[in-house]
């Protein structure tokens, strides 16, 4: 068979699945139950899962987009969305080149990375105080 005659399939068909998604949903459900019962957060590292071609996109479609989306710029962008299942957040960290450096599902009230950090608040407070002092002096 000629190399030219081999058809090229871009991406993958929707039906291609090796059952990863069902297992993943079960795990997410377990985490949600724990969140409700004990208030304990959980996370799933998507980088470590062997997705078949197309399954990652299927996961995106299945989890969908909820009411919240956030973007952080800290040494490259980070994107957070709450999926259509409240409490299930999809957190993706990118470096400045746009490669994914961390990709997790966090089952929590709010992901840690969004919250303002005490050290940064302190630094900001000092800057604000310095600014107020300047204005007073003028």
């Amino acid at each position: 068979m000629n190399l030219q005659n081999i058809p090229i399939k871009i991406g993958a068909e929707e039906e291609y699945s090796i059952g990863n998604l069902r297992a993943l949903f079960t795990e997410i459900a377990t985490h949600l139950e724990r969140l409700m019962r004990d208030g304990a957060s959980g996370s799933i590292d998507l980088n470590s899962l062997p997705f078949a071609p197309g399954e990652y996109e299927q996961l995106r479609q299945a989890l969908g987009q909820g009411e919240v989306s956030a973007r952080i710029e800290a040494i490259g962008p980070s994107e957070l969305i709450e999926t259509r299942y409240p409490g299930v957040w999809w957190v993706t960290h990118y470096n400045v080149e746009g490669d994914i450096v961390a990709d997790t599902l966090e089952i929590t009230i709010i992901p840690e990375i969004i919250k303002s950090q005490p050290e940064d608040i302190n630094t900001g407070l000092e800057l604000l105080r310095a600014r107020l002092n300047e204005e007073v002096q003028q």
Binding site: L3, I18, P53, N95, T104, E106, I113, Q117
Partner: protein, 361 residues
């Protein structure tokens, strides 16, 4: 050397926010194949970590390992790792060369004696006094032994340094050996692969820098976080293997439907590495996903373990010729001994020997 203050101090100096630092720790946790919750522990440890000196020695190698490491990642986050270490010597990457460069290596080794991290890629040739690979007139063997003396730990990067690699393949004309064949009294971690996945190299370095010790190792000295499972264990084509759906040639129907590549020589079942999950080129894919069987490049003697294109059950040596020779020898022996036996029987008949129980046994 002034750059050896803690990471926390350096980050504050560079104006990096705590949130950015947490993002970096999340990336590190993912890189080290730790559970995502470990990012907090990493943050606590890293803030206090001091920058250790790192010496990188390249021996009988193709530079693929250095290429893999420097090619893969993008600048800033991974550069933080290199910002976290003080790479005091790397003859390929550094701008300096000549006596000055060698002297700075010697100075670093003296100042940080007992605490620097030694990274080695390439095998060490031993034949003919080790002359097949030298730097500045000194043999690799000599350089390794000297550098190992003051090292806190040694990281053998790539299959050549870990197991001898391609130079070690039959007939091994240079007498190439692994680092662990020469250094016996220091902790050695083998990051095998030809080349290793770059994320694995940086993950191990990150682990050492964060926790100050080498991660858990398997019986071949490889970190179990990345080499604990085989490609086969995590291969997305595994369902096809279990169902017996194998591609028979490289562009047949089965191959195009993504069937298992076992019959096309995939060594996935006997190869320990993280290719099936961590993947290559920033997670773009790995050989099996691209339609080619695993070569087994992170295992010892992978080059001598049978053809890359013959399935795993096929022998790794010539059995057919041996069988033919054995058949000829057996037949020959049978002919010879039968002739002797027939002569014995004829003689017995002629001399009218009596048949006894002994003859029937």
């Amino acid at each position: 050397m002034n750059g050896h203050d803690t990471l926390g101090e350096r980050l504050a100096q560079q104006g990096i926010s705590r949130r950015a630092f947490l993002k970096f720790c999340a990336a590190m946790a993912s890189m080290m194949a730790l559970p995502p919750g470990a990012a907090t522990a990493i943050a606590e440890a890293l803030v206090k970590a001091k920058r250790p000196s790192v010496i990188w020695l390249s021996f009988q190698e193709c530079t693929g390992c250095t290429e893999s490491l420097t090619r893969s990642h993008s600048p800033t986050l991974e550069n933080l790792i290199f910002d976290m270490i003080s790479l005091d010597y790397h003859h390929t990457l550094q701008a300096a060369s000549g006596y000055g460069a060698e002297k700075s290596r010697e100075d670093a080794m003296k100042e940080f004696f007992g605490s620097y991290l030694l990274l080695v890629d390439g095998s060490i040739p031993l034949n003919d006094g080790g002359i097949y690979s030298t730097i500045a007139g000194r043999t690799n063997l000599d350089l390794l032994q000297e550098a190992a003396r003051g090292a806190a730990a040694i990281v053998a990067v790539g299959s050549c340094a870990s197991f001898g690699g391609i130079p070690n393949a039959k007939p091994n004309p240079t007498g190439a050996v692994a680092v662990s064949d020469i250094v016996k009294d220091k902790p050695i971690i083998n990051i095998s692969g030809c080349p290793p996945i770059p994320a694995v190299i940086t993950g191990v370095l990150a682990h050492y820098l964060t926790f100050g010790e080498l991660p858990a190792l398997d019986h071949l000295g490889r970190p179990t976080a990345f080499y604990g499972e085989t490609i086969h264990d995590r291969c997305y084509r595994r369902p096809f293997y279990e169902q017996g759906k194998f591609a028979k040639s490289f562009d047949d129907e089965g191959a195009r439907n993504g069937w298992c590549l076992f019959e096309l020589g995939c060594k996935g079942p006997t190869t320990h590495n993280a290719c099936a999950t961590t993947k290559w080129n920033g997670g773009a894919g790995f050989p099996i996903e691209a339609g080619h069987g695993c070569l087994g490049c992170s295992e010892p003697h992978f080059w001598d373990a049978g053809s890359f294109y013959k399935p795993l059950p096929a022998p790794a040596a010539d059995v057919t010729t041996v069988a033919q020779a054995a058949a000829v020898a057996g037949a020959g022996a049978a002919v010879a001994l039968s002739a002797l036996d027939r002569a014995k029987r004829k003689r017995a008949q002629q001399t009218r020997e009596k048949l006894t129980v002994k003859d029937l046994n």
